[in-house]
Each structure stands twice: as structure tokens, then as C-alpha cells.
């Protein structure tokens, strides 16, 4: 019954449905997360034998006073702000265009999806070539407009921009697919009603498409925000295992990775993970509460 309050019975039933997922998630996500949380408080700790000799806030004190971490936080935020809105807008626009055309639409859809399927190694190579300051495609295009060559990958000023452009490009296909699904599940009759009510294409878009697409937009945004906060792979690939020139692409996860895998500072790595977690959490909770008002199911 739909207006029924949760009961023990309904809860038990729901948990049966959740069980397979819960089993996996608790074992492979929740448990390690708790472990990491605890690890962030271990200040003297033998990682391999799990012997903890001292706990405290030192790891957090360390990262909060570490200039590298400050850079990482700043870069991460710039990255998120640079990537998410653009990704959402561009992928929505392309999805809309793809949805409007008939001729060759299948071909175009596939083409736009390609970057997402192509392997990261291959992609990084191509972008190296595009970004190359001497003979890269991008500088070639810019030169047509009289712009002097830009050192996309080697200048701290442009490295983040290059990273943002590549990241948007890489994940576009993914988001386009989600938006296409969303667009296709909007019932035609609302567009019919809107046309009758005098809504032109733009008004149909703002008054029907956008509100009815809001669950998908919400999904894409949340996923984009979380994904961008966790940016690592693309940096590793684009800058050949470096965090960009003068750390200009050092993100929190990159920082974490360095601390963990190259410097063997588990506690500090965990602490930075915890900070990242709470940053994402705050942003997500804000998004969730915003969505209560603006997402229509």
C-alpha cells in the first residue's frame, strides 16, 4: 500500500531486495572505507602487520599545513567547477541535437560515443598530439586566428585547462547516452500540450524538457561532481605520471596516491581521503536538498 508507513515487515522485505547489493557493497566498499577512516587517525602504524602504536590528529594536522595539499584542494575545486557545468551543458545540447535529427542519427550517436569506449592510453596519446606546442592541432587552429603557440601541457597556466578540456571530451559520450535516455522517456503528449499552449521550441525546452529531464540532470550532475572530485586517471595519463607542470594538476586523489603508493604514508593518505570524502559529502548533500525542490519525478 502506497501511503503506508514503513513497518518491520516492509523493512525486512526491502532488505531482501537490497541484500545481494548490500553483501557486496559492505564487503568491498563500506568495510574498506571504515578501515580508511580509522587509518587516518593512526599516526604510528605498521601497515603490514596492522599494529597501531599511536593514534591522534597528526595526520590531519599534517595535511592541513601541507602546502601541497592546499594546492591539491584548490586544483580539485577548480577542476570540478571547470568540468561539471560544461559537461552537463554540452552533453545536453548534443543529446538534444542528436534527438532532433533523423538522417545519419545512428552514425552520429556512435561517433559521439567513441571517446568513451576508446582506451585511455590511446586517448592520452592523441591528446598529447593535439596539445603539442610545436605541431599540435590545437595550436594550429589557434594560429589561424593569430594566436601565438601555447604550451598546453608544460605551462602551469594552461595545464589545468588542458586537463579540463580532455576530461570533458572523454566523458561526453557517457553523459550524452544518459541524456538521450532521459529525453526519450518524456512523453510526447506534454510537448503536444505545450505546442497548443503556444510554447515555441525554446519554451518547450525550458518548460517541459528541462523539468521532466531533471531526474537525469540530477544524476549526471551528482555523478559528474563525484567523478571530478576523484580525478586521477586522466591526470596520470595526460601528464605521463606527473601531477602537471609545477603541480598545476595535483588533485586530492593524486596527492593521496602519491602519499600512499610512492611515499608509503598510509595515515596521511587516508586522512586526505577522509577530507575528500567530506568535501564531496557536503556538496552532495547540498545537491540533494536542492533536488528535493527542483527534481520532478
Amino acid at each position: 500500500m502506497l501511503n503506508e508507513k514503513p513497518t518491520l515487515k516492509s523493512t525486512a522485505k526491502a532488505f531482501l531486495y537490497l541484500l545481494p547489493m548490500l553483501l557486496i557493497t559492505v564487503t568491498f566498499n563500506i568495510y574498506p572505507i571504515i578501515k580508511s577512516f580509522m587509518m587516518s587517525f593512526y599516526t604510528k602504524y605498521d601497515f603490514f602487520t596492522d599494529k597501531v602504536s599511536r593514534i591522534g590528529w597528526d595526520n590531519f594536522k599534517f595535511i592541513f599545513s601541507d602546502p601541497d595539499f592546499h594546492i591539491a584542494v584548490k586544483n580539485t575545486l577548480i577542476f570540478v567547477v571547470g568540468v561539471v557545468p560544461l559537461t552537463v551543458i554540452i552533453s545536453l545540447v548534443i543529446a538534444l541535437l542528436l534527438n532532433k535529427i533523423k538522417w545519419l542519427s545512428g552514425l552520429f550517436r556512435t561517433v559521439y560515443f567513441l571517446p568513451f569506449v576508446t582506451s585511455t592510453v590511446a586517448i592520452a596519446q592523441v591528446w598529447h598530439w593535439i596539445y603539442n606546442s610545436d605541431y599540435g592541432l590545437l595550436n594550429y587552429f589557434l594560429s589561424l586566428f593569430g594566436v601565438n603557440p601555447i604550451s598546453w601541457l608544460e605551462s602551469p597556466k594552461y595545464a589545468m585547462l588542458s586537463l579540463i578540456i580532455m576530461s570533458i571530451w572523454k566523458n561526453l559520450g557517457f553523459n550524452i547516452v544518459l541524456f538521450l535516455v532521459g529525453l526519450n522517456s518524456i512523453n510526447e503528449r506534454y510537448y503536444q500540450a505545450a505546442k497548443i499552449d503556444g510554447a515555441n521550441s525554446w519554451h518547450q525546452f525550458t518548460n517541459v524538457t528541462l523539468p521532466l529531464l531533471s531526474p537525469i540532470t540530477f544524476l549526471v550532475t551528482i555523478n559528474g561532481v563525484i567523478g571530478s572530485f576523484k580525478a586521477f586517471d586522466q591526470i596520470f595519463a595526460l601528464f605521463n605520471g606527473n601531477p602537471g607542470p609545477s603541480k598545476s594538476a595535483l588533485t586530492i586523489v593524486y596527492y593521496l596516491y602519491q602519499k600512499f603508493y610512492t611515499e608509503w604514508k598510509y595515515g596521511i593518505a587516508a586522512a586526505s581521503g577522509v577530507v575528500l570524502f567530506f568535501m564531496i559529502l557536503v556538496v552532495t548533500v547540498i545537491q540533494l536538498s536542492y533536488s528535493k525542490k527542483h527534481v520532478h519525478y
Binding site: S151, L153, P156, N240, P245, S246, W264, K265
Partner: protein, 404 residues
């Protein structure tokens, strides 16, 4: 204990993880199967774990879950961290003591720089394996065109630069970072960046001079770093510079990429301050504590086998890495190989002057900072002095923090 009975039974399995892929992996496998055929007591099983990064992660995970292999390839700079966590078996009992130890002549035959980097806190923890050195690549076409000689010193290169600059050709090309050359120059000035007893000389007068020497070349346009290309190889094949200080392991790639028409060659790095030095890069093999004593014995047998004259010369001919001992360079096979591949000569010639930086606990952290520092000079135009001063303090702190 019961080694006789185990002889007739199945051979002891020795697991060996490495980061070799493609043709290198084939070479490893070949040598492993040689070893397995050479005796019946042990069976080495080698697995490639991708690249070094993944290999490191895998070792960490395995250590944590007590599923380490018997031996693994790794850079010797991780040894301090591994020992700190009690993961490594010291090799002294196998290498210099015991029935199957290396003989004195063996120890003399192996290049000293390899042996010294295998030692940490007075004990051997690793044996050298896939090693390469820095060599100088030169573009004969350019030398001919500008009537230049093959350089004998860094100072000469700088001078050549003045001529080449006019035609937008660099004298020297570096990889993305010039830290290896920096360390080399500093050494040649008689000043290891970090001494055996962990004195930090990063901003000493000699170090500053060395760094300034490189940065001056870069700043006045006589030298260039590879930047986004990472290796200078590509630029070199395009004739962008007359010289390139790169890894001897890059020869294979250079051969593959250079146009057939281009004339080029390799030679040992020139002198600086009148001295020769070349930094050795590459990986060692370590043995983990967790294996059984039989496995360890077998593992040592395998390690020794790898360093044997014939095998190391075979390894070198298969991969382009340098042989580990001098005698190996004298074998017929190796000579034939050099004749066929003259580009690899330079590496062998450099070996006597090879050095390796001293490993210590926190080395990776230090190395990250060193790269950051070079990067800052190159991309942020940070003054050399300022940059190295900061690095000096940071490094001293790293060493201090890791003491307790």
C-alpha cells in the same frame, strides 16, 4: 632440512614478479626456462605485473595479505622502505656466506656501482638485474654540417650551443627532467647530492653550480627539455638537437624511430669538471622474508644464475640492458652483439664510471621533491638557488623524520 627427499619430489616453486612486458617479458621467460632446465630442484615461475607502478602496488597489496612472491623485481630505492617494514630477507647469508656464495672474483667482476647500490645499512638486500646508464646520443649529420667534434666535456657542448643556436638547433636535449644529469654533474664536481652518511648537499656550491650550468643552457636556448614528450628521443630523431643525454635503454626506440637516412651515434657522457660519471638507472631483484628456506635457497640460486657471465650477457643482448659484470662484456656472444648493434657500445663503455644515488628511507619522497624542484625551475622559472634551498630543507626534514 630434507633436501634429498625433496629432490626426487616435485621441484620447489619459486615465484618471481617483475615489471617487464612485451619483448622484455619474452627475454625474462627465456632466461627463466634456461634456469629451470639447468637444474631440477627448483622451478621459477615468473609473472609480469604490468609496469613498475603496478608492480609496486601489487607488492604492497601482497605484503599486506601475506601473499608475497619469493622474489621480485624492484628499484633499489624501495629497499629502505621494504626493510623498514621487515619484508626483505638480507642476502648476506647467501651472497657472501654459505655454500652457494659469490666468489671473490665474482664480486670483483660485477660493476661496483651495482653492488654498492645493492647494499643498505651495510647489508646486501638486492641483486642488480635490469640496468641501464645515461649515455650521450649525437647527431652526426649536425656535427658534420657545423664542423663540430664529438664533445669531450659538458663545457664544450655549451660552446657548441652558441653556434647551433643561430639556426634554432639545440646543442643538448634532455628528457622531461634533468635530475639525472644534475646528479651526474654534481658527482663529477665531487659532490654526491646526498652522501652515504646522509649529508644533504643539494644547495652546496658545487650542486648549485651544476644546476646553474644546466639551467643556463636551457635559459639561453642551447638546451631544451622534452617537456610533454617526456623523452627527447622524438625531437632528437627530428634533428632538433645535436646531442641528447638519455638512457642507454632508449637505443632500441631510437633505432626504431630514427629515419634510416639519419646518421647518429652514442658515446659515454662527456666529462664535467674534468671527471666522468654516469648515473645508473634500472631495477634490482629482492627476496622476501616470507618464503620458505628452500624457496629462498632456490631463489638465491636463480639470482646468482641471473648474474652469471653467460646469462647476464644473454640478457643484455636480448634486451639492450647492460651486462652486470665486466667479464660478460668479453664473451664472444656479447662481442658479436655489439658488432651488430654498435649503438650499445657506449653503455658498456660508461659502466666503469657508473654511480647510483644513495638510497635511504624516504627516498621516494625525496625523489618526488627533487622532480618537483626541477619542474619548478623549468615551468615556473623559479631561481635555481631558491629552488634548491627549499629542496635542501625539505630533504633534511624527510631524512630527519625518517630517522625516528
Amino acid at each position: 632440512k630434507d633436501s634429498t627427499s625433496s629432490k626426487s619430489a616435485a621441484p620447489v616453486k619459486i615465484t618471481f614478479w617483475h615489471g617487464m612486458t612485451g619483448p622484455y617479458q619474452k627475454a625474462v621467460n627465456e632466461i627463466i626456462s634456461d634456469f629451470n632446465k639447468s637444474q631440477s630442484k627448483y622451478k621459477v615461475v615468473g609473472t609480469s605485473q604490468g609496469n613498475y607502478t603496478q608492480l609496486q602496488q601489487k607488492i604492497m597489496a601482497a605484503a599486506k595479505s601475506n601473499s608475497l612472491p619469493t622474489i621480485s623485481q624492484t628499484t633499489y630505492t624501495t629497499v629502505p622502505d621494504y626493510t623498514e617494514n621487515h619484508l626483505l630477507e638480507p642476502l648476506d647469508n647467501y651472497m657472501i656466506k654459505g655454500s652457494n656464495a659469490l666468489s671473490d672474483s665474482d664480486l670483483k667482476d660485477i660493476y661496483p656501482s651495482f653492488l654498492s647500490s645493492s647494499k643498505y645499512q651495510g647489508k646486501y638486500y638486492s641483486v642488480p638485474f635490469s640496468k641501464s646508464v645515461r649515455v650521450l646520443y649525437y647527431n652526426q649529420d649536425i656535427l658534420d654540417k657545423y664542423n663540430l667534434e664529438k664533445p669531450t666535456s659538458w663545457e664544450e657542448i655549451a660552446k657548441d650551443g652558441e653556434i647551433l643556436k643561430k639556426d634554432n638547433v639545440y646543442a643538448m636535449g634532455f628528457d622531461k627532467s634533468w635530475d639525472m644529469e644534475f646528479e651526474g654533474l654534481a658527482r663529477q664536481a665531487g659532490n654526491p647530492l646526498i652522501s652515504k652518511n646522509l649529508k644533504v648537499n643539494l644547495n652546496s656550491a658545487d650542486s648549485l653550480k651544476a644546476a646553474n650550468f644546466i639551467m643556463d643552457m636551457v635559459n639561453d636556448g642551447t638546451a631544451k627539455t622534452a617537456g610533454e614528450d617526456f623523452y627527447w628521443t622524438q625531437a632528437f630523431t627530428q634533428g632538433k638537437s645535436a646531442f641528447y643525454a638519455g638512457s642507454s635503454a632508449g637505443v632500441t626506440q631510437m633505432v626504431a624511430q630514427a629515419p634510416k637516412s639519419m646518421k647518429w651515434g652514442t658515446m659515454p657522457l662527456p666529462t664535467y669538471n674534468g671527471k666522468k660519471a654516469t648515473e645508473i638507472a634500472g631495477n634490482d631483484i629482492v627476496m622476501f622474508k616470507s618464503g620458505s628456506s628452500d624457496q629462498k635457497k632456490g631463489a638465491w640460486a636463480f639470482m646468482k644464475y641471473l648474474m652469471s657471465k653467460n646469462e647476464t650477457s644473454k640478457w643484455a643482448t636480448l634486451t639492450g640492458y647492460v651486462p652486470l659484470r665486466e667479464s660478460a662484456t668479453k664473451t664472444d656472444a656479447f662481442k658479436k652483439y655489439l658488432a651488430a648493434k654498435p649503438y650499445n657500445q657506449a653503455a658498456v663503455d660508461s659502466l666503469p664510471d657508473g654511480f647510483q644515488s644513495n638510497a635511504f628511507k624516504g627516498f621516494s619522497e625525496y625523489r618526488t621533491k627533487l622532480l618537483d624542484s626541477v619542474d619548478a625551475m623549468l615551468t615556473k622559472n623559479e631561481p635555481v638557488k631558491k629552488s634548491l634551498d627549499t629542496l635542501q630543507t625539505q630533504t633534511e626534514k624527510i631524512i630527519k623524520d625518517n630517522k625516528d
